[in-house]
């Protein structure tokens, strides 16, 4: 078992770096080529969520990403933001209903875009990752989003 850790300031520009590293480590761990796009997307969503929360709560701590090459390839994205319930509070709403129920006209467009994007992000994470767990970090401060994929040994 080997581990790669990455910590980055909560800025959107670094999410791409996290995606690239995750895919490189996943490939090395033996994750199937056709699954790498899912890894890229899911890790990107988890990191974007962490960055957005750090920005929302003005938390300057690094967002941490742990990539563990074990029985399965596991990625943990760790934030330091106050716990929020959108990922842990039960069922994810049907994403299409978010955009078709007509919550408000143009003046609320930017809010609409933001809340829709958050809903889509959750839908992507839950839709892409079979093995997704979300819970408090070990020290109780912040949230850990853990995902894993099968790693085939050649």
């Amino acid at each position: 078992m080997s581990t790669v850790r990455l910590g980055f300031s909560p800025a959107p520009a670094h999410v791409r770096t996290a995606r690239l590293v995750a895919v490189a480590v996943a490939r090395r761990a033996g994750v199937a080529e056709e699954v790498l796009d899912e890894v890229r997307l899911a890790v990107g969503e988890a990191c974007s969520r962490a960055v957005a929360l750090h920005q929302l709560y003005e938390v300057r701590d690094l967002v941490d990403v742990e990539m563990i090459d074990g029985q399965r390839f596991t990625v943990r994205v760790l934030d330091r933001a106050p716990a929020e319930t959108r990922l842990t509070g039960g069922a994810v709403p049907d994403p299409v209903s978010l955009v078709t129920r007509g919550d408000g006209p143009g003046s609320a467009e930017s809010f609409m875009e933001e809340s829709v994007a958050v809903g889509m992000g959750l839908a992507l994470l839950t839709g892409l990752v079979d093995d997704l767990t979300v819970g408090p970090r070990d020290d109780g401060r912040g949230t850990a989003v853990a995902m894993s994929w099968a790693a085939q040994r050649g």
Partner: protein, 161 residues
């Protein structure tokens, strides 16, 4: 990583080709570009994602917002995508089946736009009609098609022109 854009306008439709990666860091660029096209009078937007390398929920949020805006103005938004990695987020969220019109080529998108326009009784974007003012996307400059004038009145005239 920045996005790059190429725009092509003909008759009543405008194609925006987007290359790069759309995420939290670049979504503002995409939104500003698309909303600027709408403000300039683009009515039927075709967003060509075939050269895109990545799109996530931030990009979906932008496209949904722009779709809402163009619909309110009586226009349309059609997406062009043919790579699985780009189609996947639209499929997983159900947007591919239930919300966006997604086709696999710009030609198909333009045909869809023109067919919809013909169905609505509007003059299709037929560039063979002689009057080929390629840069002129002013929807209000068209002859009125006769179908639903109220809809045209609300949709045709982008403010600020």
């Amino acid at each position: 990583m920045e996005l790059s854009f190429r725009t092509r306008t003909e008759a009543d439709w405008t194609v925006l080709q987007v290359t790069g990666e759309v995420d939290l860091a670049t979504r503002d660029e995409l939104r500003e570009r698309l909303l600027a096209l709408v403000a300039e009078g683009a009515r039927h937007l075709v967003v060509d994602l075939t050269g895109l390398e990545f799109i996530d929920s931030s990009g979906l949020g932008v496209l949904i917002r722009v779709h809402t805006v163009v619909q309110e103005q009586g226009g349309s938004l059609t997406l062009v995508a043919n790579q699985e990695r780009i189609l996947k987020p639209f499929r997983v969220t159900g947007l591919a089946d239930n919300y966006f019109t997604i086709v696999d080529s710009v030609e198909a998108a333009v045909s869809a736009v023109e067919a919809a326009a013909a169905e609505a009784g509007e003059p299709a974007g037929d560039t063979e009609a002689g009057d080929t003012e390629a840069g002129d996307t002013e929807a209000g400059a068209e002859p009125t098609g006769g179908a639903d004038p109220a809809d045209r009145a609300s949709g045709a005239g982008p403010a600020g022109r």
